[in-house]
Amino acid sequence: MKLTVCWNWLGHLLPPACSLCGGAFSHLAEEPFCPGCMATIICLPQARCSCCALPFASSSALSPHLCGRCVQQLPAYAVTYAAALYQGPLRSVIGRFKFQQHPNLDRPLAGLLLKYLPAQLDVDLLVPVPLHPFRLRERTYNQALLLARELGRVRRLPTAHDVLGKCRSTSPQQSLSAAQRRVNLRGAFVLNRDVRGKKILLVDDVMTTGVTVDLCSQVLLAGGAARVDVAVVARAPLG
């Protein structure tokens, strides 16, 4: 109680700055970004793939169904939770989080994701998508791990950064197609710990084609995990 009062006063005196635009905003709003910036973030539409959360072009209210790609080859994970579309200011802020050494964006981005995660999650363990040690040294932190820790802190779930490992350094995937990515990443992920019977939530910052999380899920399920779901902050639209 006392801490809350102190917190309120601190917020009045020294209002937190929005991590997106830098302007001050009310700490009482409990939103990850200021109202102006929240308005620029585009939520994922209701009409989306029930597995990989790919937004559909038409917004007609059909019953939940899979997208074309998932129908062709069903991913290993069960459900994808995503907060927003990987577009506009959110895209640039995730870029900053990943590549420009702004680790403190983990809290607002995780906050954004938490808003769209179901209140009751049937999950035992949070697992971040791993980074090869070489890449980790280059970037100095694993952004997926920071996000997973934040989710775990709020939802009181354990996070394990060493469950999955990346044994092979792969070239950056940004310019590759889904098929090329699959080739690029084949055999790159390994399981380091026993996950038998665990219900796992796999955490990453962005889902573009879904290849990375699919390969990770395959490794986890092969290791005996009961079920793998995926949570990402942003989901790239098709194309």
């Binding site: 005196l13 020294l14 937190p16 001050a24 680790p103 403190n104 040690p133 040294r137 100095t140 932190y141």
Partner: protein, 803 residues
């Protein structure tokens, strides 16, 4: 706007008012409680919740206002020891040692024993004393924690009491000092017991060693520059060098602040990061961006202590410390808010810091840079094709912002306008940030490990600094960019500040509010500039408090200004003209002189005139003898400015152009045996509004013979106002003069506790018994006498106003 800015503005407002008028602690607390309860009422039960903000700010203002007076008080012991007005022996423990220019040094100590003629004085608490040592303090013979004994006059810091004067007691108290003292040579300080251990002791010892090493290994010309840059010993730069750097606007590079800590921090970060990166475990544990800044704080703290704990360094350290803690807690804040919060914390800790020039410059410079951040971080700048060009454009914008933000403060504190700053910083900032400072830091780091390499690096750093200095010298010689000294009043400096506010806020505000603000600032600036400065009485005589000496300003309401003498102390360290007279003229709105009258050729009357002659337009200098017979320094100054000289013929003569009454001057001529008796005497006779005759007699430094000669020549009466001859000496036959004149008001110009024991106590007692009201500069400060309906109305300069 967040609450923080309102609170900061309220604190600054309350303190600013306090320098003119402040409330007592009890009154303040009653007012604070009243304001806060009303604020609570308005917030919870009324339809005007915004009023509660106003009331809260008012309460904060009251708090800071009362703190000012409370902090500025000296404890009884200080006043008691000062009143002894003789040498005492003090014993205490050293807390800090600093080296100054020309082998001088400064020792701060905590004294717990004071002996007056073999008798110990009882102290309520240990007194904090600043001891100035004139010679021989360049080695590490005295260090913090040493217990020392010395004999000297312990003085309470005092104001002279002139308008626009630098507030020495406030400065000293804001540095936690109660008293000051002085000894000629370090030999006169005896070591009672050597201290041991302690971080500060080792750091001061190390600093003195490094300083000695630099002085020995680097050519003398650049050694002091390297010491100033790397060790923060700006105070040991020779006066001329300091003036050149200030005139070129680059002296901020030699004050340890955000720039230095930033570079040191960046180095440390790079170094630690290479180790941190090696461990996957650490990288998975926490991102280095969160951990390393906290780990670097101890290093920065040691550097803060090493460079002498200056206000600007503390500001930078506090920002770094709080910033990295907030980063660790993942609490993002706007840098301007953080700066304002740190400013408020500093003022809460020590309200008197508001008047410290380094505090003002440090915070306002940083604020200006942050306000202009949208510009220098703008995409146009960061997309410039060539890195070097981008860097130069950024430096230009950043230094322009800092220069604009600090311009009114530099004017207010140093009366200096340095347009060269914009050009100089473009060259000097890259030299310092890219070469001189990093090289110096590596030298500092290598000093304990590999001294020859350190010496080489210090020499390299010194070479670049020497080039920087030569460039500044060249730039300030180039007349359009040379530093100008401007003497204005407080309201005029404020007007300049108001004019700059819109320029600084331009990148932060939308167009409409900015336009409104600009119009408001312009109008207020015009009003403030016009604010009545001087007196509007028909005749005004101002006797400036210039220590042991004399300087009087005679003015009338047609704008004629006559300066009679310019004071002057015998030492070389304190130029009365620069430190006291020029700021006082600025504050009173005097920008030119129709006439300067020098009564006689004694240093306590002419020395201060040299600076006045250099800086102010003077239409005529009036003297009693041909100019060649005066002191060569004065003669040089007069000839350099081509001031017309008029030698008064012996006997009485009058100034026809004086527009209010009759102004006459008496010259005893060559018959006088000594300079005092040759003093020029001034007499003014006029009529007040009620038709009564009023007059004044300014009797110079006449002694007995001079007074007799004056009486023989015929005294102009009435002289209802008398400036006592020869600083109220008992040997000037003042009683006879007074019995002839029957004056109502007597003026005496003397130094506080002067060695001549002037004015004569018996003379003053006698004159007061006879009904003369005496005003003296040592006790009353500057005294102004105006002619109004009821005759002469005297006022004293107290707390920033004539009262």
């Amino acid at each position: 706007m967040p609450l923080l800015f309102y609170l900061l503005a309220a604190a600054i407002g309350g303190l600013a008012v306090a320098s003119v008028s402040s409330v007592g602690t009890t009154t303040a607390w009653i007012a604070i409680l009243l304001c806060l309860s009303l604020a609570f009422y308005f917030r919870c039960f009324s339809r005007f919740p915004r009023l509660s903000l106003l009331l809260t700010c008012l309460a904060v203002s009251f708090f800071f206002n009362s703190q000012y007076a409370a902090r500025l008080q000296f404890v009884d012991d200080v006043t008691r020891i000062d009143q002894l007005s003789r040498r005492t022996t003090a014993v205490g423990v050293i807390t800090d040692v600093r080296q100054l220019t020309d082998g001088r040094s400064r020792i701060d100590l905590l004294i717990d024993e004071v002996w007056d003629k073999q008798q110990a004085l009882e102290l309520q608490r240990p007194l904090r004393l600043r001891l100035s040592v004139e010679e021989g303090g360049t080695n590490d013979a005295m260090l913090p924690r040493d217990r020392i004994r010395f004999t000297g006059r312990l003085r309470q810091p005092r104001l002279f009491g002139t308008p626009g004067e630098f507030h020495w007691p406030r400065y000293v108290i804001s540095q936690n000092i109660d008293m000051t003292s002085w000894v000629k040579n370090i030999d006169q300080v005896a070591l009672v017991a050597a201290g041991e251990g302690g971080l500060r002791r080792s750091i001061v010892q190390w600093r003195i060693r490094v300083a000695g090493f630099i002085a020995a290994k680097v050519p003398a010309k650049s050694a002091s520059l390297v010491r100033a840059l790397v060790l923060g010993e700006g105070r040991q730069l020779p006066e001329a060098v300091r003036e050149t750097l200030a005139g070129a606007g680059v002296s901020h590079l030699f004050a340890i602040s955000g720039l230095h800590l930033g570079i040191l921090g960046a180095f440390g970060y790079r170094l630690l990061l290479t180790f941190y990166r090696r461990s996957t475990w650490l990288l998975n544990w926490q991102p280095p961006q969160r951990v390393l800044p906290l780990l670097l704080l101890p290093l920065l703290f040691v550097y803060l202590l090493l460079t002498g704990d200056a206000v600007s360094t503390r500001r930078a350290f506090a920002l770094a410390g709080i910033g990295s803690l907030l980063f660790w807690w993942r609490y993002p804040v706007h840098p301007l808010h953080l700066l304002a919060a740190v400013a408020l914390i500093f003022l809460l800790y020590n309200p008197l810091l508001l008047w410290s020039a380094s505090w003002q410059l440090s915070f306002c410079g940083a604020a200006g840079i942050l306000l202009w951040r949208p510009w220098w971080q703008h995409a146009h700048v960061s997309e410039l094709p060539w890195t070097g060009l981008r860097y130069l454009v950024q430096i230009f914008l950043v230094s322009l912002a800092a220069t604009l933000a600090t311009l009114p403060l530099v004017l207010f504190n140093f009366h200096l306008f340095a347009p060269a700053a914009l050009v100089a910083n473009l060259i000097c900032v890259p030299i310092v940030t890219l070469v001189a400072l990093p090289v110096g830091f590596v030298g500092l780091f290598l000093f304990p490990l590999w001294p020859p390499a350190a010496a080489l690096l210090f020499r390299v750093s010194g070479f670049f600094l020497e080039q920087l200095y030569q460039f500044s010298l060249w730039l300030t010689d180039f007349s359009p960019l040379a530093g100008n000294y401007l003497y204005w009043s407080r309201s005029q400096y404020l007007a300049v500040a108001l004019l700059l506010v819109p320029a600084l806020l331009f990148p932060q505000l939308a167009r409409r509010p900015w336009l409104k603000l600009t119009v408001g600032c312009l109008l207020s600036a015009v009003l403030l500039w016009q604010l009545p400065l001087g007196s509007h009485a028909p005749v005004t005589l101002t006797m400036f408090s210039v220590g042991q000496g004399e300087s009087l300003l005679l003015q009338n309401n047609t704008g004629q200004n006559i300066l009679i003498d310019g004071g002057g102390l015998y030492g070389d360290r304190f130029d009365v003209g620069q430190r006291l007279l020029a700021p006082a003229f600025g504050e009173l709105g005097v920008q030119h002189f129709d006439r300067i009258i020098l009564t006689h050729d004694h240093a306590d009357h002419w020395k201060g005139l040299v600076y006045v002659l250099e800086r102010f337009p003077v239409a005529e200098l009036v003297v009693g003898e041909p100019l060649e017979k005066y002191h060569p320094v004065l003669v040089d100054a007069v000839r350099q400015r081509n001031v017309p000289v008029r030698v008064v013929e012996p006997g009485w003569s009058s100034f026809a152009d004086w527009q209010e009454g009759t102004l006459e001057i008496y010259n005893a001529g060559a018959v006088a045996a000594n300079a005092n008796d040759a003093s020029l005497v001034l007499s003014l006779r006029t009529v007040d509004a009620t038709g009564r005759e009023q007059g004044m007699l300014l009797a110079g430094d006449l002694e007995a013979q001079g007074v007799q000669r004056l009486m023989a020549a015929g005294i102009r009466s009435p002289a209802t106002l008398l400036k006592l001859p020869h600083h109220g000496s008992g040997k000037s036959q003042t009683e006879r003069l007074f019995s002839l004149l029957g004056s109502g008001i007597g003026l005496v110009s003397v130094g506080y506790q002067n060695v001549y024991r002037l004015p004569s106590k018996t003379l003053l007692e006698h004159l007061e018994e006879e009904g003369l009201r005496i005003y003296r500069t040592d006790l009353d400060g500057t005294v102004r006498v105006q002619l109004d309906d009821a005759g002469w109305r005297p006022q004293k300069w107290q707390n920033g106003l004539f009262r």
